[in-house]
């Protein structure tokens, strides 16, 4: 029987149209890219029983199960149900009424994150935990938004190529009476970060305007003169993207904000999209909406009603710069 399917529904169900007619692939969400191995058994079984016996690790840290017959979607949805139940409902705490009907949306992509504080000594936060919290805020949703969480300004997850890059920061707290002026922090800051620390008269001066909150000084200090402020802070860089149309790196929007500001901004972003999206298009990526409305409109909308913590700093203007593909740029 000839296939006659509503591809809109298929795509929203997290399956995609593939290069081989009749075959699809299922995208499995793994918030933070960290999962219990029991889920791998389920994915393996689906790939063996319905796909071609392979799994693809996506750039966004999910799994894609290729080579699936489009006709078998309902059966596969039954089989992926426990994964949705375990990860999305039980762990992230999302209310999904029918997990056995498959993923309820695919627009907002998997929340990617670096391995974070559970493993990496440089991380300033538990990125997996934050990825799950964000997942709960933003999923399921059909709007096309890409969010990544990274533990420190090294940005290993490349949040700067996402609509929202959320970067864990450490506010270093200096105990003058514990500092021995060994220069370990200032030498290292100059070598690997921004040179925000200056050693003078055996003590350190921190230039707050230069400090990017990487926390390297805390790691280097042999006397615990530098410690972490136990409050967690974040930097939000926004509207970075790859893509055919005007790729660009994200720029700082907010810095030294707390978790609740991050969450509120993300929540408000969906209302912003809802208000400003060009509904005549099949889909519109949030970054292009901000291109149309301008940064100030975005900024004022998503910060409306958000209580910024006292340490927070907000970008007044953003100049993303651009990317040129024009042929005249090439000399050969």
């Amino acid at each position: 029987m000839t296939l006659d399917i509503n591809i809109g529904k298929v795509i929203k169900n997290a399956y995609r149209i593939t290069s081989t007619r009749g075959l699809t692939a299922l995208r499995v969400r793994i918030p933070g890219g960290h999962l219990e191995t029991k889920y791998l058994d389920i994915l393996k079984k689906i790939a063996d029983d319905f796909g071609n016996g392979t799994l693809h690790m996506t750039t966004r840290q999910g799994f894609e199960i290729p080579g699936i017959d489009l006709k078998r979607i309902p059966e596969i949805n039954q089989r992926i149900g426990p994964v949705i139940q375990g990860i999305e409902i039980d762990t992230a705490g999302i209310d999904i009424s029918e997990p056995e009907a498959g993923y309820p949306a695919a627009g907002t992509r998997n929340i990617a994150s670096c391995i974070g504080g559970r493993v990496c000594p440089f991380a300033n936060c538990d990125t997996t935990d934050l990825a799950f919290k964000i997942e709960k805020k933003v999923y399921p949703n059909n709007f096309h938004v890409k969010i990544a969480v990274t533990g420190c300004p090294n940005d290993c997850i490349k949040g700067h190529l996402h609509d929202f890059g959320i970067i864990g920061l450490c506010e270093p707290v200096y105990d003058y009476s514990r500092c021995i002026g060994c220069g370990a922090c200032s030498n290292n800051c100059r070598a690997v970060a921004t040179g925000a620390l200056i050693l003078k008269n055996g003590k350190i001066r921190r230039d707050e305007r230069r400090c990017i909150g990487c926390g390297e000084c805390v790691l280097q200090c042999p006397t615990a003169a530098w410690t972490r402020n136990p409050m967690k802070f974040y930097k939000m860089v926004i509207m970075g993207r790859t893509g055919k149309k005007n790729p660009r790196i994200a720029r700082p929007f907010l810095i030294w904000v707390n978790e609740s500001v991050v969450m509120d901004v993300l929540t408000n972003t969906y209302q912003y999209i809802d208000k400003y999206i060009n509904k005549s298009l099949p889909k519109e990526h949030v970054g292009y909406i901000v291109d149309r409305t301008g940064y100030p409109t975005f900024r004022d909308f998503v910060l409306d009603g958000v209580k910024l913590n006292p340490e927070a700093k907000l970008s007044q203007h953003i100049n993303w710069g651009g990317y040129e593909n024009a042929s005249y740029l090439f000399i050969k």
Binding site: G168, I180, G181, T223
Partner: protein, 334 residues
């Protein structure tokens, strides 16, 4: 004499002490640790039992109470020198046996090395009363038994934590008076740890063979040690310091002379005016520290090794150099 006291009674005692004593104990600073979500445990002033971290080893030793990380030794106004005001209160320190033994090592350097006693160390030292925290299990990297520092008799009171009641062995009239009529009289003497997971053998020699000084084992440390100094800042017995003068930035006619912890593992320790220094290789720094801890000190004072086997150096080393293993290597080579 032995006593069993309740939490309330113990806290009452601390309250009474607080009038004339500053009380120091290991404290947990939640989420102040090196990596996110980790805690820092170091000595600090406490006022009640719940502030005392008795279950874990502190990252830093108690030496910072008696030998502060930074200490102003003089204030200057024009050409006048004045000494900072002295704290009049006494000092009560909750300490494990290894650290109490460590303080007696510090005493040798500060009070018995050379003809002069160290003026700034002696002042607080004379006011110390030790409350020994019974330590029977030890922690990762401890090797106190090998260093014979698992025991101490030099305490004014000992305490066993962990039960419903606090068991006390009181040796000092001061504490007997403070606790008069409090709690229940019992038989109690503290236990000591009898075996650590780490065991260390010290070289049994009269004279370190000269060949040991340029043994190739030190070359390996040159490739591994990063000379960060953590092994020395966390060490209870490392006592070195540097003195610097600081001029007030706003009014350079005023200033202070300050004493700050220094370390043979940190660059510049031996540098003289003009730049000449010694032990440039990190392996040489390791050799210097190791022999100081297990040989030189004993040669000088004849009181056993300087190292007390608290293992904090091994806890702290970011590049996983084990000092206990280094001692064993030296012993096996001599």
């Amino acid at each position: 004499m032995g006593k069993s006291v309740s939490t309330t009674e113990f806290n009452e005692m601390l309250k009474t002490l607080a009038g004339e004593y500053r009380i120091f104990a290991p404290k947990r600073f939640v989420h102040h640790g090196k990596c996110t979500g980790t805690d820092l445990i170091r000595y600090g002033e406490v006022h009640s039992l719940d502030e005392i971290e008795y279950k874990a080893k502190s990252n830093f030793s108690l030496k910072e109470i008696l030998h502060p990380i930074n200490q102003t030794i003089f204030y200057f106004t024009e050409t006048e020198f004045s000494e900072p005001a002295t704290e009049n209160k006494g000092i009560v320190i909750f300490a494990r046996p290894c650290d109490i033994n460590g303080v007696f090592r510090l005493d040798n350097i500060f009070l018995h090395n050379g003809d002069e006693e160290d003026y700034y160390y002696k002042k607080p030292r004379d006011k110390v009363r030790f409350v020994m925290m019974e330590c029977t299990v030890g922690f990762e990297n401890c090797f106190c038994v090998s260093m014979d520092t698992n025991k101490s008799d030099d305490y004014h009171m000992a305490v066993r934590f962990g039960g419903e009641e606090y068991l006390l062995d009181i040796r000092d009239q001061f504490f007997i008076d403070v606790l008069e009529g409090v709690g229940e009289d019992i038989e109690f003497t503290p236990d000591f740890i009898k075996r650590n997971r780490v065991e260390v053998r010290l070289p049994e020699i009269d004279r370190m063979p000269p060949a040991m000084y340029d043994h190739e084992m030190w070359d390996e440390y040159s490739t591994r040690c990063i000379a960060c100094g953590r092994c020395t800042t966390t060490c209870i017995t490392c006592s070195c310091f540097t003195t610097t003068d600081i001029a007030n930035e706003d009014n350079p006619k005023q200033g202070e002379r300050r004493r700050t912890w220094a370390s043979c593992h940190i660059e510049g320790f031996t540098d003289m005016a003009g730049g000449h220094g010694f032990r440039k290789k990190n392996g040489e720094k390791m050799r210097f520290k190791t022999l100081h801890k297990i040989y030189d000190y004993n040669r000088r004072f004849g009181k056993g090794p300087m190292c007390v086997g608290c293992g904090r150096c091994d806890d702290a080393c970011p590049v996983y150099i084990s000092f206990s293993n280094c001692i064993n290597k030296v012993t096996s080579y001599v």
